[in-house]
């Protein structure tokens, strides 16, 4: 079959959009002149193309800009280093603010004047009817320490986290309010997914999950507890620390980190890292077979870009010497060590050298 006889149905959209070379467009035209089947296909695809072209742009709500502005301010505050006097001052201020807010609520919310509301959070239904304990929520309600808030497949809720932020609870999720006071606001995420936005000093908002504790360092992030009890943390802005038995992993914006019951905290990775890297890393973190782990580590190293030194840096202390050495080789190839850092220092996990190199690497994170 010569070129003119070969059907051109696969080229028709490109032909209509002027994306074919002159020669190819000429070939398609000549074929169409002689082939009824391809002309029918042209008619059909042209109809689809024309209907798709009627899609209209929709105006984005102006509120998005305000929210971005607020979030940016949050990040600025979250990024600040807080000394202890500052933290105490902030805590005192927060306490005063919570008290004032609570007094305001006690005075102005009809039917809810009791002093117990000082330690409760406002909850609003976003859609459907979420439940606080056994109470079905059609509009707004209050979540008190000890209460659980639960959504089903058709409901979603928004919760005001005292005066330091808010969270949204996705469908099929449950949180419990453990405590709320000026020193700490603590919830447990038992299942499902929540997204939190906070503008408080670091470490005031804490989320317990079945496999780790997420400590807010001033940011926007989502936390998802999966059926097996593992947790997937995704940080959109700022930083979140994942704590497991006192060992802390700080996850920056744009990164994910997984934790597993009994398996501890996994290695953070960027959302734009390759899929093979993410899959292999999951095995390196939680897989059982040592030789397979080494094979998967090779994939991680092969796929890593300079930005993925986030992952490689966190892998260093988690691996035995031989594998650590391989990680180090790859890191050096991606981002040279500063002069103050030596290979032997990193191999022995010297804390100062690890920190120095991290400070340099962070510029690409």
């Amino acid at each position: 079959m010569n070129m003119f006889k070969k059907h051109v149905t696969h080229e028709i959209s490109a032909f209509l959009h002027g994306e074919l070379s002159d020669d190819m467009a000429r070939t398609v035209k000549m074929h169409l002149a002689e082939c009824g089947a391809c002309r029918n296909a042209l008619e059909e695809i042209r109809l689809g193309e024309r209907l798709a072209s009627t899609l209209r742009q929709v105006e984005a709500p102006e509120s998005i800009w305000r929210e971005i502005h607020t979030a940016a301010e949050t990040q600025k505050r979250g990024a600040q280093k807080w000394s202890w006097p500052d933290r105490l001052l902030a805590a005192a201020f927060s306490f005063a603010a919570v008290m004032a807010f609570s007094l305001f609520l006690a005075s102005y919310v009809p039917g809810r004047p009791d002093a117990g509301d000082a330690a409760s959070w406002e909850v609003a239904s976003v859609r459907g009817t979420p439940q606080i304990g056994n109470l079905r929520l059609h509009d707004t309600g209050r979540l008190r320490p000890g209460d659980s808030l639960e959504t089903n497949a058709h409901s979603e809720a928004k919760v005001q986290i005292a005066d330091i932020g808010h969270l949204t609870l996705d469908p099929n999720s449950r949180i419990r309010l453990i405590s709320t006071n000026s020193d700490q606001h603590r919830i447990a995420l038992d299942r499902g997914r929540m997204t939190a936005t906070t503008w408080a000093p670091p470490r005031l908002f804490v989320v317990d999950t079945p496999s780790a504790t997420a400590v807010d360092l001033g940011c926007i992030y989502s936390c998802e507890v999966q059926k097996d009890g593992s947790t997937l943390l995704h940080v959109t802005l700022g930083l979140v620390a994942l704590d497991f038995h006192g060992r802390e992993t700080v996850v920056p914006a744009g990164a994910f980190c997984r934790t597993r019951p009994g398996g501890g905290v996994g290695t953070p990775y960027f959302e734009d890292s390759t899929e093979p890297l993410q899959t292999a890393l999951n095995y390196v973190d939680f897989g059982g077979n040592e030789s397979e782990r080494a094979r998967q580590l090779d994939i991680v190293l092969r796929e890593a870009r300079p930005r993925d030194t986030l992952t490689l840096w966190h892998l260093l202390p988690r691996l035995r010497e031989r594998l650590r050495s391989q990680v180090l080789d790859r890191m050096v190839a991606l981002a040279p060590m500063p002069q103050t850092v030596t290979r032997s220092g990193i191999m022995s996990l010297d804390a100062d050298m690890m920190d120095s190199w991290k400070s340099e690497l962070e510029k690409s994170w």
């Binding site: 959209s13 959009h17 059909e44 109809l47 998005i64 990040q75 497949a153 914006a253």
Partner: protein
């Protein structure tokens, strides 16, 4: 006004005549290197300009991708601009800004879809109305029905075909640009668009007379 950076000029205009005017001025305004550099230096006016130019496009792609789910479109749009705010320094001007941005949009939509898939099925029972432009009531009803049909047909496409269609028809990206955004070859883009258009036509054959040039075919 000559010699004043464009973002300053537009910002001044914004101050004088308000947000609507800025939206009108910027809706088709190409973002140039100076605006990007201003954003990379942390210039808030530059960022506002960037937001005004791209907000509706980002929102619309997400809205159509999620079958009219405004909450998802809102979240994706917010997330994209927050990421832009914090990551724009990583943008290297040797690549096209819009391509870089749309790649982020595609990834954000896929991430959100993955998250939602665990909780909800994005089937037609969750379809939301996409607001129509102001028209007479009758025209509006008819247009809404047609658009709802097109939207449903698009939402029924496989995500890969759907995104290729949205990038082509909302953003008028070339096949090369779509290939970069979607991380595939130009041939794959052509094939996805071809398939996508074909499926739409089969589902929407009853709308044969609708749309630009819908009264008759140009040959």
């Amino acid at each position: 006004m000559e010699g004043i950076p464009i973002n300053r000029r537009l910002s001044a205009e914004f101050d004088n005549v308000g947000a609507m005017k800025l939206c009108a001025v910027t809706s088709d305004f190409p973002i140039d290197d100076r605006t990007i550099e201003a954003c990379q230096r942390g210039d808030s006016e530059g960022f506002r300009l960037l937001f005004e130019v791209y907000k509706d496009r980002v929102y619309s792609i997400a809205l159509y991708y999620f079958n009219g789910d405004e909450a998802s479109a809102h979240d994706v749009t917010q997330q994209i601009f927050l990421k832009l705010l914090t990551h724009i320094r990583q943008f290297e001007s040797r690549s096209e800004f819009s391509t870089w941005l749309y790649r982020m949009v595609v990834n954000a939509c896929l991430d959100r879809k993955r998250a939602l898939r665990r909780f909800l099925s994005l089937d037609n029972s969750h379809a939301h109305e996409i607001p129509a432009a102001r028209k007479s009531m009758e025209e509006k009803v008819i247009q809404n029905e047609r658009e709802a049909s097109i939207r449903l047909a698009i939402s029924g496409l496989k995500p890969k075909l759907r995104m290729a269609i949205l990038l082509k028809h909302f953003e008028e990206l070339s096949y090369d640009e779509i290939a970069v955004v979607l991380g595939c070859s130009k041939g794959t883009v052509a094939s996805r668009l071809n398939r996508g258009h074909q499926i739409l036509a089969r589902k929407l054959v009853h709308l044969r007379g609708y749309g630009p040039g819908g009264g008759g075919w140009e040959e």
